[in-house]
């Protein structure tokens, strides 16, 4: 029957139409969670280069100085900062703290996230 809860409805998790700010928080948290898990696995594999000795690791670092890689790294930092700050909000709410102010908490924390991302972006791209 249509309209029923089913696993195949999962794309609708990411549809913000007709939804409120809290859903944006949910969507951001879910996307950053999956992205960071993927990054974690890639990061661990890449660090295996360390075990191959100086030539392998330094060669790998030369590769990631490429601006495209740097942009990817900035996205990872963005995901980490957003997920972390949102997670702190959710943890506090689950202990009964700030539930009625969850919207303003979300706005303030995401503004802080934007500042952090801008700071790291500047450091990475301007200072090399």
């Amino acid at each position: 029957m249509p309209n029923q809860p089913e696993a195949k409805n999962w794309p609708r998790w990411f549809d913000p139409r007709s939804r409120s700010l809290g859903t944006f928080g949910f969507i951001l948290n879910r996307i950053t969670a999956l992205a960071l898990t993927l990054y974690l696995i890639l990061h661990l594999i890449a660090l295996g280069q360390l075990a191959q000795g100086p030539a392998a690791y330094d060669g790998f670092i030369a590769l990631v100085k490429n601006p495209l890689f740097k942009l990817g790294e900035l996205l990872v930092i963005a995901a980490g900062v957003i997920h972390g700050l949102n997670g702190i909000r959710i943890a506090l709410n689950s202990f009964g703290i700030g539930v009625r102010r969850q919207r303003s908490m979300f706005v303030i924390l995401m503004a802080l996230a934007v500042l952090c991302i801008a700071f790291f972006g500047w450091k990475m791209f301007m200072e090399g």
Partner: protein
Amino acid sequence: MEGSLTPKRLEGSGRWLIKIIAGLFIVVFLGIHFVVNHLVAPGGLLTYADVVAYYQNPVIVVMEVAFLVVVITHAFLGVRSILLDLNPTAWVLRAANVLLVIVGAAAVIYGAWLALTIANVKI
């Protein structure tokens, strides 16, 4: 409760608490990891020699391995929670549990081995 055969609890306050506490540890460790890697170490840990020097300190080795443990715990409990949102069948969940435990344990063992290998490199 009459007539209620409550199905086995696949996720409860215990596992959720572990996920949240791991998350809070991540915030702390990641802060340290970030500050050292990108702000304290001159030029960041971007040469082999710098990484080896960093890992000579046993506190760092312990911290980085602890960091890996809490990250894997948080990430994999989170992924499992997302899977539970899809109401998987019992065998899919069982397979996922096994996969997550094996991959998680392998990642921790691999990471610890890597950290110790680097720590034991003769400068």
